[in-house]
Symmetry: D2
Subunit: 116 residues, 4 copies
């Protein structure tokens, strides 16, 4: 796993071991926890217009940051549980997306984007 | 934003700019996309037992890695759109969790975990 | 369970029994399946503006209807598995909402709405 | 829309009109709200074993019922906003599932189930 996430993953591993929580951290459960946190993240935006979502108050922005952190913490724990490197996986996926959405055909075209 | 995610965030920014997609990338839309991908991640586990989820085949593990990558890519884009540093946010949240779940009271106790 | 859902719940029960699938239909798994389908429903809207979402093409509207059906089918199965009556639960919740959001204070006020 | 849901849909429509909330109820927003509530529903199950999820305490069962109600209330509002009949859509989908999963091939076979 790449540099900046290594510290986090070590701390999370120690955190769970200290509390004897690894028994609850099956990939199935971690994937559930991740989607639950992603829902809490979306909750902040559900009644906002797109414009409003681009201009959050500092308090709201911090609250969103906390939910985003929760998603990332479960993502790292899920990756650890499965022996996956999230940065390497993201780099591979980004390369795929570059093939899937050639610049000249995808430019400004959310319909194509939407259909894939 | 910390080291290993900086490359990814730059590449994602360029990717979206080249395709003129930033217009679609409001925080509201990115949060929706993130939860949609989190759902696709969970889909791989929904009918598995916890034990089965701890012993995925290599193919299934790769497929899960691709969905996990999608979640991370939207998470980074959402953080950029809001000017948040995901690693710093995760470190802060982890500190909060250490206060919230003292080792001696939280040990092996998923009920407390569950109720917060 | 109220009238129109009774037929559906009976058919779903028979469907699962015929295929010996009740063993997979723990409330935990059904709740996962429900959120996965809810994500697929949201996927249709993630890059649309609100205005566009109010004016779907007939094909898109049908596709959304199919995802909405999937959510409802899992919702009914989860209710059955737990011995809950979804219509009665919805009526109770609606009464609570009437107390929680008095007309004169909630009128046109999404902020209050948002904060609860 | 079929019988038992008609009352609910009328009440919900009046509820939103009285509060001038229809302006916030675009299909895009309602689909977001639905997935947020589905996440809250799943939250009750995320650290439970499947067995535990089959044997909820009465208090937990009621709490789950409230979240399930929230999902249903948004589902009905989304169906209304799009002019869809959720019961008819569910009946059509169930018919499709009967073709997709023939009894003799699907029996006890979650793998096939999982792959579709």
């Amino acid at each position: 796993m790449a540099d900046s996430l290594i510290d986090l993953s070590r701390q999370l591993d120690q955190f769970a071991k200290d509390r004897e929580w690894l028994q609850f951290h099956s990939p199935k459960n971690l994937a559930s926890a991740l989607v639950v946190e992603a829902g809490e993240l979306l909750e902040h935006f559900q009644w906002l217009t797109e414009e409003e979502s681009r201009a959050l108050s500092p308090e709201k922005r911090d609250a969103v940051g906390t939910e985003l952190a929760d998603v990332l913490l479960y993502l790292i724990q899920l990756a650890m549980a499965l022996g996956l490197d999230p940065i390497a996986a993201a780099q591979s996926k980004l390369k795929l997306n570059e093939l899937k959405y050639p610049v000249d055909r995808a430019r400004g075209n959310y319909k194509k984007y939407d259909e894939l």
